[in-house]
Amino acid sequence: MSKFFVMMGHTYKNRVKSKSFLITTLITIALIFTLSNLQSIIDAFTGEDDGKTVAVLTDQEQWFSALKQNLATEDELSLQMFSGGLEEAKEEVKKGGFHSVVQLEEGEEGLPEGTYYAEQIASTEESRPIQQALQQVKAVTVTERSNIDASVIQQISSPVSFQLVALEENAKSAEELDQTRGLVYIMLFLMYFSVMMYGNMISTEVATEKSSRVMEILISSVSPVSQMFAKIIGIALLGLTQFSIFLIAGYFGIQQSRDSSDGSLLESFGLLDIQGSTVVYAVVFFLLGYLLYATLAATLGSLVSRLEDAQQIVAPMMMMVVAAFLIAMFGLNSPDAKFITISSYFPFFTPLIMFLRVGMLDVPLWEIVLSLFMLSASVIGLGLLGARIYRGGVLMYGKSSSLKDMKTALQLSKKEG
């Protein structure tokens, strides 16, 4: 047993000390701080803006004033009547005197038509409000002509009140759903990335030892099974370390932005009050999911003899994670779809998709237990099978063609007599 810990410690220490670990951790912390303070950052950038002046070219005085009135709420845009010609105005824009020019002309039936000139039209941040304001000016013009009261128009255009109410007991309310959706979204990302990252790490670890041939010495000192699980758990500890760092960084980040602004962005992600049970499920599914994929990664890694082949052989596994992730992303919008339900029982999808269902829907307990049971059974089954393939695989060298190799590896490790 002590050898198991020696190996686990070695795997862990080696990775923690590595430059790549330091760099990814630092980058992610920077990212967390940026994201959690995104609101303040956006505010900081927009706050300094002095506003943009838009020249209006028109001979209809009332259009200008109507437009100005409609745009009164837009702090950044200020309109200014321009008396010169269009070419002059364009010249001004180029010189920087105006941000843009709007030419209002009388079109068919005396309704206003606008043309917007700016140096760049890629951003619609300025042009859209003007367009909308003009739309209103047009509507007012038409109603006035038809002698309809302005309040009628207002009634027509105001949004309808429409509320969603779930009838099933315990079903999540729309508000709750919005909150959990954010959390589920983030958990899905975390799971996806950690399986990708740590799964890859494990298979590389095994393949490195094989390609440097140190494996032959290791395998004569420590049994392949403890070797395999020492690596899986060593990398898991590494992941825990990394996540703890992220969590602490995230906590401070949120704390900070809570102080400064009300954190409307975080609120929309539902991160300010997290449900206890969802967190517990997240941890359980996460751990089992990790074990399943990590075991597969170690098994696959043991089959290749060169580091370059490691990427190739884990590719199908990665595709599976990507598939699970895509299904889960789709499921965020319709978690009760039939195929989401079905795929949540497939062990390789369970960690992501069952968690999604648990987070978004009111799933009966037996379904959760069943999927957890199937997931755990696959972890154990794959662990046993993987250990045997690993035992044979680490002794095999040569060109790898995965499936055939698995069979050979199994034969090599077969207990006989």
Binding site: K3, S212, M215, S221, E416
Partner: protein, 299 residues
């Protein structure tokens, strides 16, 4: 603690890698295990180490099977060199020693002694990939013996070393034997085997073709070598009955003859031809035996 293999056979599907191999390696001995490439040496080592299971037969050491429970008593230097290229020598050796059940302080002490002995203490904090191949080989050797194993398997320990370093490692191997280690030694360099081993076994396509005490093997081989230096043409010796091989040399020749009696025929045939500077009757070398039995040289 004697290592015993009884009728050990290993089959991979229809291919028989090792066939009915029986060996006995007593304590305090270096056993030479020879064979051409692909003869089944590595497979045999792996079976001894318990990494793969034999199809038939028994392997016992110290009264039981070799397993991970005894890994602290076993040292292994694989033919393919294997160390972590990015790790420093010290980290590497301490880690591997700990996996063999050593404490860190013991491992440190042993490591320093060995590095001193091999005259490379300055490599302690260097990465393995920065060392030359010969020096890597020394580190590899240390990793196999640092935990004072009782059973040591050395697969081609001297490859890639210059003559000075070969001597250094040879001394170390003999010293380990004196301390009571059973050593299984495999090499393609017959002179090393002849120098170090009392008992040998030659494996050919998985079957032992020659085995036993080296001097017995030589005696029962029967054929002898004769070296002749003479001032006249000696190529007529080639046609004498009982002469197997004839090799012309500057100022003489080398012969292989069927048995000791033929040497006398050769001697009398040379008798009155002229001045003979040397007539030397020699035991066959292991190399001769190996070539004869296996059919090819792997120098």
């Amino acid at each position: 603690m004697t290592l015993r293999l009884r009728n050990v056979t290993k089959k991979f599907n229809s291919f028989t890698a090792v066939d009915q191999l029986s060996l006995e390696i007593p304590e305090k001995q270096i056993f030479g295990f020879l064979g051409a490439n692909g003869a089944g040496k590595t497979t045999t080592f792996r079976m001894i180490l318990g990494l793969i299971d034999q199809t038939e037969g028994e392997i016992s050491w110290n009264g039981g099977e070799v397993g991970y429970g005894q890994s602290h008593l076993i040292g292994y230097l694989p033919e393919e060199r294997g160390l972590y290229p990015k790790l420093k020598v010290q980290e590497q050796l301490i880690y591997l020693a700990k996996l063999r059940g050593m404490s860190k302080s013991d491992a440190l002490k042993e490591m320093n002694d060995w590095l001193e002995k091999f005259k490379v203490p300055e490599y302690k904090n260097k990465k393995v990939e920065e060392l030359s191949k010969g020096n890597q080989q020394k580190i590899q050797f240390i990793s196999a013996v640092i935990h004072k194993p009782k059973l040591l398997i050395l697969d081609e320990p001297f490859s890639g070393l210059d003559p000075v370093n070969v001597e250094m490692l040879k001394e170390a191997v003999v010293e380990l034997k004196e301390r009571g280690t059973s050593i299984v030694f495999s090499s393609h360099r017959m002179e090393h085997v002849e120098e170090l081993c009392e008992n040998v076994c030659i494996l050919h396509h998985g079957s032992p073709v020659v085995g036993g005490h080296l001097s017995d093997i030589k005696r029962s081989f029967g054929k002898k070598n004769i070296k002749v230096r003479a001032d006249f043409e000696t190529n007529f010796l080639e046609d004498l009955p009982g002469v197997n091989k004839y090799k012309s040399m500057p100022g003489g020749c080398e012969l292989q003859v069927m048995n000791e009696e033929v040497s006398q025929t050769v001697f009398s045939a040379l008798g009155d031809k002229g001045f003979i500077r040397t007539f030397d009757l020699e035991e066959p070398t292991l190399n001769d035996i190996f070539i004869e039995k296996v059919g090819a040289s792997y120098e």
